[in-house]
Amino acid sequence: MAKTILTVDDSASIRQMVSFTLKEAGYAVTEAVDGQDGLDKARSGKFDLIFTDQNMPRMDGLSLIKQLRALPPYKSVPILMLTTESSDAMKSQGRAAGATGWLVKPFDPAKLLEVVRKVIG
């Protein structure tokens, strides 16, 4: 069965690119438009991997990660931040929030797949 991935980003173009790339590679992808939507979708689904943007309306990526980690089903699901900030401060915040890793924007589809394959095969 296809692995499921949730991609949370308020930018429709990035979302579509991520979603298209992952679907082409055979993953089942669900899109969410912001942190709150991501949380709702995560609650009502089951995902093997979650990508989230940091800067989003309603709920940002770090808050989303914190909230997800509080949910038993997502305690140990890999969650990666898509971020334009690769500063140490950002990373340590991500780590503190419970992120599994990060992927710097801009990235290309090949890089995305490399990461996904690395993380969930």
Binding site: A2, S13, G101, V104, P106, G121
Partner: protein
């Protein structure tokens, strides 16, 4: 697999356009004196989003501009700088540059202009300025983003302070708050920890040295109880480059680690003992945030630890990525830093990643298998993974849901209130077209059934009336897809007014009313130009200079009101100003000079209509804002092209009021079908005022004006469809016909028809697309009996009739 990125361009263009528009309107509403943090954040987000997309899709010129934009915005939202009017101007200019760049990309070109570098330089200069080094309020410190990319000053250092509050007598939040604030005196302090009480992690951005920090800490604890490290900050611009390969910092906030030295090595040195691919192992342990027992456990199981740290930390770097490790023996705990992404060792989810990594090590296909063989069996990790909560769901309900979604292979998405999809306009238009056909089919069916006995064919009749209701509902629903709030046009005006007024040295405020009024997308797009012209005109010619206003006893600041509303089946858009108003004498003098015929005692309305004459401008001096004389006649033609009409009203000294009346949509029309001879015509309901049975004495012929009809002391031009369309048949007796009084742009007129048939909604089909443009006719429709009826354009009819008769 290679993915064609260009397929996402369109979405990016739309999204970037929306973000730019949002940014602009937020900037315009930003109160520089009392900036709203939420607004600043939203502006930042818009810029940030554009930057992310532009970078991803390879529009590096836009990414560069948004980067400098974002840098300054970031300082604003962090309250390091206070916004100024100059900044807002610079932001707006940057927005303009981005719009130009976006448009160029949409056309497959590159936008090259010196403006780009000018704007960027300006923004950079503003971002460097240090006008208000405001402290971040402690209350919001928890949420505040750490700096990281913004500080341009080289003397500023980011200090990371890690401690166990209970261990230094700072167990209560209040105690911590006091220390937090004390440290805040040195610069900007932020809580970057997890919020756990066992361990605190603060970041202090300050020009102060280690000594100053230790001095403050000395009040509460022994030296060494609080770990003080510096954090290197990466140069921000690297992020915007397409190649981020080398732009990685390595996160090594190791407790007990002599931060400066160890970190320095980690951050600056590439993998010391590895090849180009860059696999490297660093000493340096991340994981300050992890619970103590985790660390203890880790070191217990790894007897071969470096004694100095109590546990070993490694960074595996490959082709720019690396793995940090704080608990050897479990790949899960390795921080991995790759080119452009990284994984946090020991973080939630890593055990799953580790399982994969373990497999990869076995396969060793891509060379990820160079983890230190460490004590601790990966299998035990896998066991852990198996017992991870996800597979043993917390509640039966949850696991049921999981099963269900697994079975469905795609998790059911809950309907969210704001979920929407993007559909191309063509698809919607096709839908509208099909509904139009359905309406016509229904009309035909109804026509055929008209001859049936309703008692005998009761069920058919009932079915038909159901069909009618359903197709009307369907039609409305489909039409509503194309409807957009007029705010799409209105929203550009705050900027237009701001810029125009500023360039003319006038003070003008803009009031928008009824922005939610919806009308057809096609109309909205075509409304933009005429409105733009009217608004600029109002500012240029209507609103007086501040001195003149004060002298006239008016407030210094003029006001322009844009109002939209639904009235009957049409949308009314009004542009009014409280300026000087139109000057009757000037207009008449100008008309005389240009040889425009005017009645002896023209009404105000006649005079105001003069401004719509081609080449008619009363402005004494031509400005680049308006007044080239190509304005108002074009405005009127644009609006007439939309089946709309425009009226002017003005009071000297009080202002001018322009009213535009538009149909709701260009696809469907409420019309009255009229018969003339054998032909059917449709008159738009919006133009009809009344219809009367004429008497012989009402018809008169006036030299130079042709035939007229006298109605209540008013002589209206008579439009005979026979004349206009040269039916070729002899004209029937005038007294047998019916006069429909219509409102045109040149006043009222009477259209002579044989018979009024019925009122109905008709689907407008373009004659131009299907045949060619015919003067006097705005379109055609298919009637219930299958015949084609022409939709009359009364304005053109009057012109034609005058030509034919005169």
């Amino acid at each position: 697999m290679s993915i064609d990125m260009s397929q996402f361009y369109q979405v990016f263009f739309e999204e970037a356009g929306e973000n730019l528009a949002a940014m602009e309107s937020l900037l315009l509403e930003l109160d520089v004196e009392a900036p709203d943090l939420e607004t600043l954040n939203a502006i930042f987000r818009a810029a940030h989003s554009i930057k992310g997309g532009a970078g991803t899709f390879g529009f590096s010129d836009m990414a560069e501009v948004t980067h400098v934009l974002e840098t300054l915005l970031d300082r604003l939202r962090k309250q390091e700088l206070a916004p100024t009017v100059e900044m807002v101007d610079a932001f707006l200019q940057a927005g303009d540059v981005l719009k130009s760049q976006l448009q160029a990309h949409q056309e497959g070109e590159e936008y090259e202009d010196s403006r780009v570098t000018e704007v960027c330089r300006h923004l950079e200069r503003l971002a460097r300025a240090d006008n208000a080094e405001g402290d971040v309020p402690a209350s919001s410190a928890g949420e505040t983003q750490p700096a990281g990319t913004v500080e341009a000053e080289s003397s500023v250092t980011h200090w990371r302070l890690a401690f166990e509050p209970a261990g230094i007598g700072q167990g209560t939040p209040d105690e911590r708050r006091a220390l937090f604030e004390a440290l805040g005196e040195l610069g900007r302090i932020q809580d970057i920890g997890t919020g756990e009480t066992e361990r605190c992690l603060w970041q202090l951005t300050s020009t102060a040295g280690r000594g100053a920090i230790e001095e403050i800490l000395a009040f509460v604890c022994e030296p060494g109880q609080v770990e003080i490290d510096t954090i290197e900050t990466l140069e921000a611009p690297a992020e915007t480059e397409a190649e981020t390969e080398t732009a990685y910092g390595f996160f090594t906030d190791a407790p007990g680690l002599q931060g400066d030295a160890a970190f320095g090595e980690a951050a600056s040195a590439p993998a010391p003992d590895q090849d180009e691919l860059g696999y490297g192992f660093f000493e340096g342990a991340p994981g300050t945030e992890y619970g103590a027992e985790e660390r203890t456990g880790a070191s217990d199981s790894t007897p071969d630890q470096t004694q100095a740290f109590g546990f070993q930390a490694e960074i595996l770097e490959s082709d720019g990525y690396g793995f940090f490790r704080d608990a050897p023996g479990t790949e899960a705990a390795i921080d991995q830093e790759h080119s452009g992404y990284g994984l946090f060792g020991g973080s939630p989810g890593m055990d799953r990643v580790a399982a994969v990594a373990h497999q990869e090590r076995l396969d060793d296909e891509r060379g990820y298998g160079i983890f230190n063989s460490a004590p601790g069996s990966p299998e035990s990790r896998l066991d852990d993974d198996a017992s991870a909560p996800i597979s043993t769901a917390a509640s039966p309900a949850k696991s049921a849901m999981e099963r269900e979604s697994r079975a469905g292979n795609a998790p059911k998405r809950p309907a969210t209130a704001d979920s929407s999809i993007r559909v191309s306009v063509e698809k919607v238009d096709q839908l509208i077209n099909l509904v139009g056909e359905l309406v016509i089919t229904h009309a035909m069916l109804a026509d055929s059934a008209a001859g049936l006995d309703p008692v005998v064919h009761e069920r058919i009749m009932a079915g038909l009336s159901n069909l009618e209701r359903n197709s009307r509902d369907l039609q409305e629903a489909v039409m509503s897809i194309r409807m957009m709030p007029i705010s799409f046009v209105f929203n550009r005006f705050p900027r237009v007014v701001r810029d125009t007024a500023a360039s003319l040295g006038k003070r003008v405020t803009l009031k928008l009313i009824g922005e939610d009024t919806e009308l057809d997308k096609g109309l909205i797009e075509r409304l933009a130009d005429p409105l733009n012209h009217l608004v600029r005109n109002s500012i240029d010619h209507g609103i007086e200079r501040p001195e003149a206003r004060l002298a006239a006893g008016k407030p210094e600041t003029g006001e322009i009101v844009l109002r939209a509303s639904h009235r009957g089946g049409s949308v009314v858009v009004e542009v009014s100003d409280d300026g000087a108003g139109l000057n009757r004498e000037k207009l008449l003098a100008k008309a005389a000079k240009q040889g425009i015929p005017m009645p002896d005692n023209p009404s105000d309305k006649d005079v105001w209509q003069l401004i719509f004459h081609a080449g008619f401008s009363t402005a004494e001096r031509v400005t680049d804002i308006s007044g080239r004389g190509v304005g108002m006649d074009v405005v009127r033609r644009n609006i007439e092209d939309m089946n709309g009409r425009v009226e002017v009203d003005s009071t000297a000294g009080r202002g001018t009021h322009i009213t535009i009346r538009l149909p709701l949509t260009l696809a469907i029309l409420d019309g009255l079908s009229v018969r003339m001879g054998e032909e059917m015509f449709i008159l738009p309901l919006t133009v009809i005022q009344e219809s009367i049975q004429p008497r012989a004495e009402q018809f008169k012929t006036i030299v130079g004006k042709g035939r007229v009809v006298q109605i209540n002391d008013e002589y209206l031009p008579l439009v005979s469809l026979h004349d206009v369309f040269s039916s070729g048949r002899p004209e029937p007796n005038l007294l047998d016909g019916i006069l429909v009084i219509v409102e045109t742009n040149e006043g009222r007129a009477a259209v002579l028809v044989d018979e009024l048939v019925a009122q109905h909604q008709v689907v407008i089909k373009s004659l131009e697309t299907n045949y060619r443009k015919v003067e006097g006719v705005s379109g055609a429709t298919i009637m219930g009996d299958g015949r084609v009826a022409l939709i009359l354009d009364v304005d053109a009819l009057v012109r034609l009739s005058r030509r034919a008769g005169g």
